[in-house]
């Protein structure tokens, strides 16, 4: 089938194939760059709308909050008067099947406004409910209390048979609240 191998045609062939492939990849990258950016921007603005209060405009660029050596992305939302209405903080915590990435809306006083799972790899039918189970997600709205599941003496009802996921979720929300509280303490805003 193939031609005889010698150094010259091997090098030429590999070089040629790599050149063509890089060209194809570069072209695809340029073509898809815009839609990819749009897709992720849309996902972000949808998520921000869900976790923040209705009557405010979130800013779409994140500022970092650094707390205990971890950096959190924080989106500030202001009401019509330009006052800070709430913050949306992105947190990551280790669940059962991998990381759970959360976007948590927090009022400046530290109450939780809303939560949304951005990505997770929990078991379908078990931990994956953390993204859809309304009973579980709604208990965070306006929550201020002990950040732990009831089994550990806290105020959160865990998802049935998914304690590890629930704990990770609670931990993520708590981290966001702490980050926002640290902002207030420093008087940045």
């Amino acid at each position: 089938m193939a031609a005889v191998s010698n150094l010259r045609n091997m090098v030429l062939c590999l070089f040629g194939v790599c050149l063509v492939c890089s060209a194809i990849l570069g072209a695809t990258y340029v073509v898809t760059e815009e839609p990819i950016a749009q897709a992720s921007a849309r996902a972000l603005s949808d998520a921000l709308g869900e976790v923040l209060p209705q009557d405010c405009t979130p800013c779409t660029t994140a500022e970092p909050i650094v707390l205990d050596g971890t950096s959190y992305e924080c989106y500030t939302a202001r009401d019509a008067g330009g006052n800070v209405a709430a913050y949306a903080v992105k947190t990551v915590s280790g669940g059962f099947g991998g990381p759970i990435e959360l976007l948590v809306g927090v009022y400046p006083d530290g109450r939780v406004c809303g939560t949304k799972v951005l990505s997770h790899s929990e078991t379908p039918g078990l931990g994956a409910k953390c993204a859809t189970d309304e009973g579980f997600i709604n208990q965070f709205k306006g929550f201020e209390g002990r950040f732990a599941v009831r089994k550990d003496g806290g105020d959160i009802d865990a998802i049935t048979a998914s304690t590890i996921t629930s704990k990770a979720y609670v931990k993520g929300v708590e981290a966001a609240v702490k980050a926002v509280k640290s902002l207030g303490g420093q008087g940045n805003e």
Partner: protein
């Protein structure tokens, strides 16, 4: 061999999952529901058809000693193209299948077909072979996904069939191996005599 039988062959006689037993990793990992299985199958089919076609075109001029690296570069290129396209137009699907999209590169089905078929046949036949094997893979993944979804979450393609949670073990790792094992035995007993 007729063109039609080239396609049909991949579905039963050379079914990549139940007969050739290739590409087991995505088969087990992504079939938590029928829809996921279907999507993974289609993604693999996309790469399989394109890489088969290109490899059948270039193989006559590729020196023998470097043919494997050349094939791998071609396959990896199409996988990356697929990654970019999926991120752009179906970001949710891309997120669900996650790691297993880049891992199509090392799916033995793709390199296996390149070596065994595409490098020795014409463009059209190679494309048809890609369609056949790809369809066989998609079909198997969908069936495995369907069985696991029905038993594990009481639903089919996302529609609830009966109330309750189903047997959760089927959605988790042990269920994947168990369902594949039983389906393979059933396939051998009744379909492939």
């Amino acid at each position: 061999m007729s063109k039609l039988s080239l396609i049909a062959r991949g579905l039963v006689r050379e079914n990549p999952t139940f007969v050739l037993v290739l590409g087991m990793c995505p088969t087990l990992a992504t079939t938590t529901s029928a829809m996921n299985g279907l999507e993974m199958g289609l993604a693999t089919m996309f790469v399989l058809i394109l890489s088969n076609m290109v490899i059948s075109l270039v193989s006559p001029v590729v020196p023998d000693k470097v043919h494997i690296p050349v094939y791998i570069v071609i396959i990896a290129t199409f996988v990356t193209v697929l990654q970019l396209l999926m991120q752009a137009y179906v970001p949710d699907v891309y997120r669900t299948l996650g790691l297993f999209i880049p891992l199509i590169v090392v799916n033995c089905i793709v390199l296996g077909r390149a070596e065994a078929f595409a490098s020795r046949n014409g463009v059209l036949d190679s494309a048809l072979d890609g369609i056949g094997i790809g369809a066989g893979f998609t079909l198997s993944l969908t069936v495995i996904g369907l069985v696991r979804e029905i038993l594990g979450s009481g639903a089919a393609f996302g529609f609830k069939l009966f109330p309750g949670d189903g047997i959760l073990a089927f959605v988790m790792a042990p269920g994947a191996f168990l369902v594949l094992g039983y389906l393979m035995a059933i396939f051998r007993k009744f379909i492939k005599k």
